[in-house]
């Protein structure tokens, strides 16, 4: 697109890049805000249905479509209160810190083929690092509110998020290891084809790791059953007790976009990203799976795939929230330290062993064709990569190593 604007339309380079940057920022912002609107409405409906109620029925028509918008207008009109003993500057800034962390993480998440805010070579790592900063806004809010409930809520959340980053990181390492890269685009491209290529179905260990990831992801975005930070029976509303109006809604937007983000990350890491369960576009001959060769329709299809998977993830989180009771803090820590971390570690070792025992897959259904991601990353052909691993004859490592050194120069 940049080349098109520069060469065909004739815009100067700096203006083009500024326009494109603003465009992607606006798109991501709209995704976050619009997503929050839809998800809050969905949350009301899902919770109502689970509890055998109807939920909103009147606002904006028969299904209460406009309920979130009405909520938003109500929030806009609310008085913006600040407690007397609060640290004014930190109190005002905290919601934006949370929101910005969530926003910045979206920059690294690819939506379809090359539709990504900024394609980073260390995409997974960046997203996880930035997502971890969201808790900082919560801690600030808890401290600056000058309220015991807020402080307790913030402390719980901080302890929980910091602990759950460990098993979460271990789960994420498994697909990174299978793909041989931290580039999210390449990871998704390597799962192109039928749904059996998804890393979820790569081996039994990745299947288990995915569910550990789901647990840790729910915990790291503070959704029930891990929502001790805002346990209303003990802490009123936890860290956002003293917030109202628009600032409060910023916290909510950050929470919902984080949910969407971890679901999107799960989709890219385990569920094939924008590759549907059946490779329709490839079967019809519209695409060979790479971003460079696809038309607009295929891209839209991929976008719909990824958004659909991520939305499904959010809906599952809602289902979990309205099904399971809230855990106590010691149960939360037990789940993390005694179950998730050891299971993730064992599954990591298991997946590694699996890759070593069955380098070409169990059934060895290799037809010699290489997936798009591997064509792009030339160095993947080295030891552990596909081409050497599949061939039967033992390969002398030295030339392959030299080739890697050559390529990486």
């Amino acid at each position: 697109m940049a080349e098109y604007l520069i060469q065909t339309v004739g815009l100067p380079g700096w203006l083009t890049w500024s326009l494109l940057a603003v465009l992607s920022a606006v798109l991501i912002l709209n995704l976050m805000a619009g997503g929050a609107l839809v998800f809050i409405w969905a949350e009301r409906k899902v919770s109502a249905r689970i509890q055998d109620r109807l939920g909103p029925t009147r606002t904006g028509g028969s299904f209460g479509w406009l309920q979130s918008l009405a909520d938003g207008i109500k929030l806009l009109a609310k008085e913006d209160l600040m407690p007397e003993g609060a640290d004014g500057m930190l109190f005002r800034v905290a919601p934006y810190v949370s929101f910005c962390a969530s926003f910045a993480a979206f920059i690294g998440l690819p939506f379809a083929f090359d539709m990504v805010g900024l394609r980073l070579n260390v995409g997974v790592f960046y997203v996880v690092a930035v997502l971890g900063l969201e808790v900082f806004g919560v801690i600030l809010a808890g401290y600056a509110s000058a309220s015991k409930w807020s402080l307790f809520g913030a402390m719980r959340e901080a302890a929980q998020v910091v602990s759950y980053e460990v098993p979460l990181g271990m789960c994420i390492v498994v697909p990174v290891m299978l793909a041989g890269t931290m580039d999210l685009v390449t990871i998704a491209e390597k799962q192109a084809g039928w749904f059996t290529n998804w890393y979820l179905f790569h081996d039994p260990f990745t299947f288990v790791v995915f569910w550990v990831y789901v647990t840790c992801a729910v915990a790291s975005v503070n959704r029930a059953p891990f929502d001790l930070a805002e346990a209303e029976s003990e802490l009123v509303a936890g860290f956002h007790t003293e917030y109202s109006g628009l600032r409060w809604s910023f916290f909510f937007m950050a929470e919902y976009s984080s949910m969407f983000l971890v679901s999107g990350l799960a989709a890219v890491l385990f569920l094939g990203g924008w590759n549907g369960p059946v490779p329709i576009a490839t079967l019809l001959g519209l695409s060979d799976g790479t971003g460079e060769s696809t038309g607009a329709i295929v891209r839209l299809l991929g976008l719909a795939n990824l958004l659909g998977k991520a939305t499904l993830g959010v809906l599952i989180m809602m289902w979990i929230r309205w099904t399971l009771p809230r855990l106590r803090i010691d149960q939360v820590m037990t789940t993390c330290l005694k179950y998730c971390t050891p299971i993730a570690a064992v599954m990591f070792a298991g997946a590694m062993t699996w890759l070593w025992v069955f380098p070409g897959g169990v059934l060895n259904l290799d037809d010699g064709s290489r997936r798009p991601g591997e064509i792009r990353e030339g160095w993947l052909e080295g030891p552990g990569g596909r081409s050497t691993a599949v061939s039967d004859a033992p390969v002398d490592d030295a030339p392959a190593l030299a080739e890697i050194a050559e390529v990486s120069k």
């Binding site: 100067p12 380079g13 700096w14 203006l15 890049w17 500024s18 640290d87 500057m89 930190l90 800034v93 394609r119 980073l120 070579n121 260390v122 790592f125 960046y126 996880v128 690092a129 930035v130 971890g132 900063l133 808790v135 900082f136 801690i139 600030l140 401290y143 600056a144 402080l151 402390m155 901080a158 302890a159 910091v162 890269t181 931290m182 803090i329 010691d330 820590m333 037990t334 160095w379 490592d397 030295a398 190593l401 030299a402 890697i404 050194a405 990486s408 120069k409």
Partner: protein
């Protein structure tokens, strides 16, 4: 952009007319990092200091991203901004007693700190400006900042960890032209450091663990009190 600033800082030299975003963002992040670092020193509330420190370190991460060193930038976010600051806030907020929450620095301490800091700054500026990119022809050639060509990659870094160095194989056994040593991977030093950290962690857990009473009634009571407190 005034021309004097552009002459002073070669990164501001505008490329092909128009705005030079690279120079602009470099200045922005650098200014943010410096101002917020000063704010850390001047603030008198511990939590505000931590907040400014986080922002300052975040701006530094922005500089790394700008230079195309995405791995280092993400590392900076993960380790410094994320880990250290969360822990610092834990430590500060759990341990801070009334006299330490708000810290008033005496004037003589400020003078002393200013002297030490100023001396260090002078040394650093001297060292930075004596670099080849800042003087002579390199500065005139459109900026002294090396922009990463094409897709930057952390792959050589990861490969070097297991012994496959960009500047030559470990397996080939050839010697480096600089120091005559056989090149090695970074795996062994990395492992030594990580075992060291593990020992520190175990030690910290040992010191911080809850002391259990030996006379308490049986396993059940132990379980109910032995969790997180």
């Amino acid at each position: 952009m005034s021309s004097s600033v552009a002459q002073l800082l070669p990164v501001l030299a505008a490329a092909e007319g128009g705005l030079n975003w690279h120079g602009f963002f470099f200045l922005l992040f650098a200014l943010l990092a410096c101002c917020l670092a000063v704010a850390v020193v001047l603030a008198d509330n511990v939590v505000r200091m931590a907040f400014y420190l986080v922002l300052s370190l975040g701006a530094t991460a922005g500089l790394f991203f700008l230079a195309g060193a995405e791995f280092v930038g993400a590392m900076q976010l993960m380790i410094y901004v994320g880990g250290t600051l969360v822990l610092l806030i834990f430590g500060v907020m759990l341990t801070a007693q009334e006299p330490f929450v708000s810290i008033k620095t005496p004037v003589r301490d400020k003078v002393l700190a200013g002297l030490v800091g100023g001396a260090l700054l002078a040394v650093l500026i001297q060292a930075a400006l004596s670099g080849p990119a800042w003087s002579g022809s390199a500065a005139e050639g459109g900026g002294g900042v090396a922009l990463a060509a094409g897709q930057p990659s952390a792959t050589p870094l990861g490969m070097a960890l297991v012994g496959i160095r960009v500047d030559g194989d470990v397996a080939s056994g050839e010697k480096s032209p600089e120091d005559g040593q056989v090149r090695s991977g970074y795996l062994l030093p990395f492992e030594i450091v990580s075992v060291h950290l593990l020992v520190v962690l175990v030690g910290a857990a040992y010191l911080a663990r809850s002391k259990r009473r030996k006379s308490s009634g049986g396993q059940g009571a132990d379980l109910s009190t032995g969790g997180m407190r």
